[in-house]
């Protein structure tokens, strides 16, 4: 159903990253992971995902810095969904011009629904 849609998960917490990868892979997505914004940008040079799931608070290159550099890349740029533990996830998303947001801790149903919605919208 999902074909081989490719997702990029950018998350510094090993355990959360691992969990998201398992959840999304179990639904048939192809998942690429990055432990911070710098790794994510390097990944983008090699393979274009269909959607990016982005944590904000990360070492080295955080979500804000990633978004700034990401916006400088030539289009087409896949949509970004912010996944954050901050109180105001929607504001974080607005700050960096992301297409969607998800507040931690989230239910995996919500995660899958959100991913599905954004992939359909394309």
């Amino acid at each position: 159903m999902n074909g081989t849609r490719r997702l990029l998960v950018v998350e510094d917490d090993d355990s959360i990253r691992d969990m998201m990868e398992m959840v999304l892979a179990s639904e048939g997505y192809e998942v690429v992971t990055a432990r911070d914004g710098a790794v994510a940008l390097a990944t983008l040079n090699q393979e274009q995902p269909d959607l990016i799931l982005l944590d904000m608070k990360m070492p080295i290159v955080d979500g804000w810095e990633f978004a700034r550099r990401y916006a400088e890349l030539p289009p087409p740029r896949p949509p970004v969904i912010v996944i954050t533990a901050a109180q105001d996830a929607s504001r974080r998303a607005a700050e960096i011009g992301a297409q969607g947001y998800l507040a931690k801790p989230f239910s995996i149903d919500d995660l899958l629904q959100l991913v599905d919605d954004h992939l359909d919208a394309r």
Binding site: I16, M19, M22, M58, K104
Partner: protein, 560 residues
């Protein structure tokens, strides 16, 4: 010709006789009156028939006549041709008038001395006018002096007022006041005593010339002594002679202060203290000095009051800022804490839901993934539990309820367990332990474990590139146990080392390394409650070494 001469002579005589403003008359060579005109009668009061033939010395005050002034006048006129004078003369009724006198010696065509012409003018009016002028001049001079004095005082008050306005900090204000007062009142000593309202005593607060007053700091009860009386009676007091007075202050006496003047410092009816000045010479302070000092004291009092209000306001503002900072810190902490708690909960919830989902579908994860999911759940539950413990410990510390439950403990075993646990969390770091087979100390095991776990956790967290973490446990000196944890990580910048044990502090907060910022704070509290200490040795980029030293207590000796 002769007729003409006679006529001229008659005319001249008439002219002379008719002159009213001048007494013009002739004296014979001996000084007897020969002729008399209308002016002479008017000025001197004698009629011609009364005076012709009399010696002119009757016109002089008797004392001058006795001293021979008339004879001297004629002699001088004869020798020099004329004699001029201004002085008192006597009228026929005995009254005096101020006269201008000119005596000219008269000689005939052959040069023989035939007598004297005398012209006298009454200058009494002019003299009075002159005296009046001098009197007015004197008055004006006096008025000007007064005005200048008033101006000087005004200036002096101005300087004191300026000083009062310029300094809002009490000590600086008092120092300036002392200088200005000693300068404008020209005194040798100045002292300001402030009233302690609770104890009803005056405390020397600032002094010039008698600085020992302030150093000695002897409180003076209200109503006693010179200053005490000024404050109690709320009025200025002068002491002309300290030796002869009831002034008991030994410092004033030792300094040789002779005279004193003091005034109360009063603001809105409230006595703040006393300002007094003294001189090393005898000085009688007059009413002017007294009222002047009181004016100065009033301004000084107002300034002191302002300075105190300013000080109080500043303190209140600082406290408010402190409170705001504390609230901000607390808010930031709560936000950090929420974030930190959400992280393990996110993965716990995700893995749990994933497992439920799989079992609901009747499927299963492959065994490797299942293993990882369960391990993660276990690990994150541990993390969550540690965070909650830290929060509870902090709340206990805040409430003052952190009580140690000490018991003999083998620290070698405790630390070894902690090192194994930490090693299981990381593959990139190599942890080594150097410890004796057994090392006993009386500690709160649960809390000591927190300290060890926290130090290991930090060593790993702040060595993002991996590396060695060396743990050392040993008896550092008899009765003391030392634990050291050394890493090869980021290190701590010198300017942050003094803060790392503060609550909520994160030396590397900017780089988003996780944690509550409580670990080292709690560690220090725990170590200090054990009677020990904790410190860090570090250089930025060259790793850190954290050292804990606690007393082993009786146990060590008992087992030794």
């Amino acid at each position: 010709m002769a007729l003409k001469t006679e006529l001229e002579s008659d005319l001249f005589r008439l002219l002379v006789e008719g002159v009213q403003d001048y007494a013009i008359f002739l004296l014979d060579p001996d000084g007897r009156v020969q002729s008399w005109n209308a002016g002479a009668q008017r000025i001197k009061g004698y009629r011609a028939d009364e005076v012709i033939g009399k010696h002119f010395s009757i016109f002089y005050p008797p004392e001058e006549a006795r001293r021979g002034k008339p004879a001297y006048a004629l002699r001088t006129a004869l020798e020099e041709g004329r004699w001029a004078d201004e002085g008192w003369r006597i009228r026929s009724d005995g009254s005096r008038f101020w006269a201008s006198v000119l005596i000219t010696a008269l000689r005939d065509g052959r040069g023989r001395h035939v007598g004297f012409a005398k012209v006298t003018r009454d200058l009494s009016e002019r003299k009075r006018a002159e005296e009046e002028r001098l009197r007015l001049l004197e008055m004006e001079r006096g008025a000007r002096t007064q005005a200048e004095t008033a101006l000087d005082q005004l200036r002096a008050i101005q300087t004191v007022t300026e000083a009062a306005l310029a300094h809002l900090e009490l000590d600086a204000l008092l120092a300036t006041l002392l200088d200005r007062v000693s300068e404008v009142l020209n005194v040798d000593t100045v002292a300001i005593l402030l009233l302690n309202e609770d104890e009803q005593v005056l405390m020397p607060r600032a002094a010039k010339g008698i600085e020992e007053e302030v150093v000695a700091g002897i409180p003076l009860p209200l109503g006693q002594g010179f200053a005490g009386r000024i404050a109690a009676e709320r009025r200025p007091i002068t002491v002309d002679d300290v030796e002869q007075s009831d002034v008991r202050n030994p410092i004033l006496r030792e300094k040789g202060v002779k005279s004193l003047l003091g005034a109360p410092l009063i603001v809105r009816g409230r006595v703040l203290g006393v300002l007094h000045v003294g001189t090393l010479y005898y000085r009688r302070f007059n009413a002017n000095d007294v009222s002047f000092l009181q004016i100065v004291a009033d301004r000084a009092a107002l300034a002191i009051e302002h300075a105190r209000l300013y000080e109080a306001t500043r303190l209140a503002r600082e406290e408010a800022e402190e409170a705001i900072r504390a609230v901000q810190l607390r808010d930031e902490f709560l936000s950090t804490a929420a974030h930190e708690l959400k992280t393990p909960v996110t993965s716990l919830r995700g893995f749990a839901e994933l497992l439920l989902r799989m079992s609901a579908r009747g499927g299963a994860l492959d065994s490797a993934r299942f293993q990882r999911a369960v391990e993660s759940i276990h690990h994150q539950a541990g993390n969550l539990s540690r965070l909650v413990t830290q929060l509870l410990e902090m709340s206990r510390l805040d409430g003052g309820h952190l009580e140690l439950d000490r018991a003999p403990e083998d620290l070698a075993r405790l630390v070894s367990r902690a090192v194994e646990q930490a090693q299981s969390q990381t593959e990139r770091h190599t942890l080594t332990l150097d410890a004796p087979p057994e090392l006993w100390a009386e500690v709160d095991a649960f809390r000591f474990e927190q300290v060890v776990a926290n130090l290991l956790d930090n060593a790993i967290k702040y060595s993002p590139d991996g590396g060695h973490v060396e743990v050392e446990l040993a008896q550092s000196r008899p009765g003391w146990v030392r634990l050291a944890v050394r890493d090869e990580g980021l290190g701590i910048p010198a300017d942050r080392q003094s803060h790392i044990f503060e609550r909520y502090y994160q030396a590397h907060a900017a780089s988003h390394r996780s944690g509550l910022g409580l670990g080292l704070y709690l560690s220090r509290q725990i170590v200090e409650r054990h009677g020990g200490r904790i410190w860090a040795e570090s250089a930025e980029g060259r790793g850190s070494r954290f050292v804990v030293e606690v007393p082993a207590r009786v146990v060590a000796e008992a087992r030794a």
